[in-house]
Subunit: 400 residues, 2 copies
């Protein structure tokens, strides 16, 4: 049992600062919230004064199997194209000979220390590595189930149709319990959008798993792909099971075209993931999509890997980057960005009992801040991270 | 005397991780650097192992007179136009009745805790407030001269020609010791670029002060202004004394036009300040300008004020935002961003003895990182901040 005294709870988007309250955690759940709760015998007590309580952060687009976290600093050397980045990654990972199980565990502890309690991670699957990364991360996830809710996407990083054998591997991963299968630029990578999407959707339909497709293809090329995804979602009855990651095209097409795409996203309840990319790339118009009712979520993307050293695995800072890149200055906008890194991701993952209400799972984050907007802007030291009612990190350091 | 043991020194852009060394500080200067220095009698010793030593950060575009720092969280409410933001600011500041002297001191302590040891701050001057902000910040700067090098720009926030009396106030500020005078969108704000620029340059020429002009005007409108600034710099012999802040236009004109502007910037040795703005606004192409030899620097801009709550006064994080918005993934790019927040700003300010070599002033920052690129990406807790050889902040808290 744990009693947190005098913390403000995030009241929800645009609701401002709430009055401080006490929060009692029991058996892994929020048992009570009140202005002055009695401490039950044996309850540990934490001082939350001057602090804000948030639900555990959700990093719902990670690549934890191939991080270089814990290794010496690795200067970035890949060329700018997708193909160059993939080839460089394969070469570096072969050379370093790192263990996906160990590397993913290293990064997971860092994520936990920064307040992430849930993650959806894409894990590479392909002819060269087979299911080795998938098995490694699955074993790690099993050992860490008390510390982090983990959802695995079997992800065809080296392409689908252009890497024969990949569809079979994705199907095998689905059989072995991958919650989702992924895709990658059906046009830009495979030059065979019909082949890739038909293949992926058939597997999803057979195994009842979800789909989370990386779509970097720009502007109209991406827009056509969104249409093709929506067609297959409808044809196979996969409404609500599909997500599009990055989907830069939503920030790049003309307003009338965008309206048509939004209609399809809503009709098929397709969720959209953006992490507010580095560089000048336009990305989905977050506020507009949210106002229209499109489900949005976010993630760190690859953290300190051969793709980029810029992502640092901090989802409160990710909310800041989304707000910064979107130009949100008002509290509602800043908190919308935060909701993509918390409630939005939890919804994408179907995480049960996620939230700050009585009865919700006690997955919580305490930071020194007056309002949620301030927490995003300052992304201060994580005072406490709590998972399943247990303190798992304090002052930025994992305790487990 | 202070001996820092076993820290890596930032070796310069793209030079990678240096071997750990000892650093002896004496009489406010770096007295010795070596692999194993003897501790002189009476020297305090700090453990720098696992850490990187950087020169103190330089926030060379701040607005410390009108921050709301230390006040309750203030949700942003201003409309999107420049005029709305200015009117909103005047109204909020009138209502809150804050003291520029006290507010600037509050923010200065936060900046110091984050490792900033030098700042150039724009301070509002105008018919409504006269020189009150200037006098307040100048008094604060005087009291804090041992903690922070401060340069003041008398800044006509409410316009120059459109706010009669402002030119006289700017001249009075120059007479009273303002190191620079500022300007603001001679076309967009005043609709009288000739009037504003002739007026500003005449004052600068009469008093020998520098010029640092806010230029938000976009694309060709901004480009013409750059040309008009360069013409006046040449005519009045002010080469090397002029800076352009924001200068979004440099990221918005066609390549051929940009080349012409670069030629002028180099001819007049005009420095360019960008803080990598929030939102979709294109900004100066940092790497290209640096390669051409244009002097670049950066700053926080307004921290937690009525303009935006997004800037948080952390210059290591500012380097990250510059790298992130520019899409820099290589160490050289990331360190270029850091140099804008350190050496570039110091050069703009003409700060004497700035650097990490023997004989330089002991203005230093120690952070847990292996390389400068890692320090930028993680912008970790500031382990130690040293000003003039004295420890002024530790673990993110100002000690003074």
């Amino acid at each position: 049992m744990l009693l947190i005294r005098g913390a403000r709870l995030w009241a929800g988007i645009g609701r401002g600062a709430a009055a401080p309250q006490d929060l009692l955690l029991r058996e892994g759940r929020v048992a009570a919230i009140g202005t002055r709760l009695d401490a039950p015998p044996g309850a540990a007590i934490e001082d939350g004064s001057g602090c804000l309580l948030l639900p555990g952060l959700v990093d719902a687009h990670a690549h934890i199997d191939k991080t270089l976290w814990g290794q010496p600093w690795h200067p970035h050397r890949a060329g700018p194209s997708l193909r160059e980045k993939i080839d460089n990654e394969r070469a570096v990972l072969r050379e370093l000979g790192l263990s996906p199980e160990l590397q993913s565990e290293r990064l997971l502890r860092h994520m936990l220390a920064r307040g992430t309690t849930h993650t959806r991670t894409h894990v590479d699957v392909g002819p060269e590595i087979g299911l080795a990364h998938f098995h490694g991360v699955r074993a790690m996830a099993e050992r860490h189930r008390a510390l982090m809710d983990i959802e695995i996407v079997a992800f065809p990083q080296t392409g689908v149709m252009c890497a024969p054998g990949t569809l079979d591997l994705l199907e095998q991963a689905a059989r072995e319990g991958a919650q989702l299968i992924g895709g990658l630029d059906p046009m830009g990578m495979d030059r065979d959008p019909k082949g890739q999407l038909d293949g992926l959707f058939a597997i999803a339909a057979r195994h009842g798993c979800g789909l989370d497709i990386h779509l970097h293809d720009r502007a109209d090329l991406g827009a056509v792909t969104v249409e093709m995804v929506a067609e297959r979602s409808r044809a196979l009855g996969l409404r609500g099971k599909v997500a599009l990651s990055h989907a830069f095209c939503l920030g790049q097409v003309e307003p009338a075209r965008l309206e048509g795409l939004i209609e399809l996203l809503l009709r098929e309840d397709i969720a959209v993931m953006t992490h507010a990319p580095s560089g000048p790339t336009a990305f989905p118009p977050v506020r507009l999509l949210a106002e229209r009712g499109v489900r949005l979520f976010s993630g760190s993307d690859g953290v300190r890997d051969t793709w980029s050293p810029l992502n640092n695995g901090d989802m409160l800072e990710r909310a800041y980057l989304i707000a910064y890149r979107s130009g949100f200055r008002d509290d509602a906008g800043i908190e919308l960005a935060l909701s993509m890194c918390s409630f939005g991701g939890a919804q994408a993952m179907g995480a049960p009992g996620y939230g700050l209400a009585v009865g919700d799972r006690a997955d919580l984050l305490l930071v020194e801040a007056e309002t949620a907007a301030e927490a995003v802007v300052m992304h201060p030291l994580r005072r406490l991270v709590i998972k399943g009612g247990r303190v798992v990190a304090r002052n930025g350091r994992a305790l487990v």
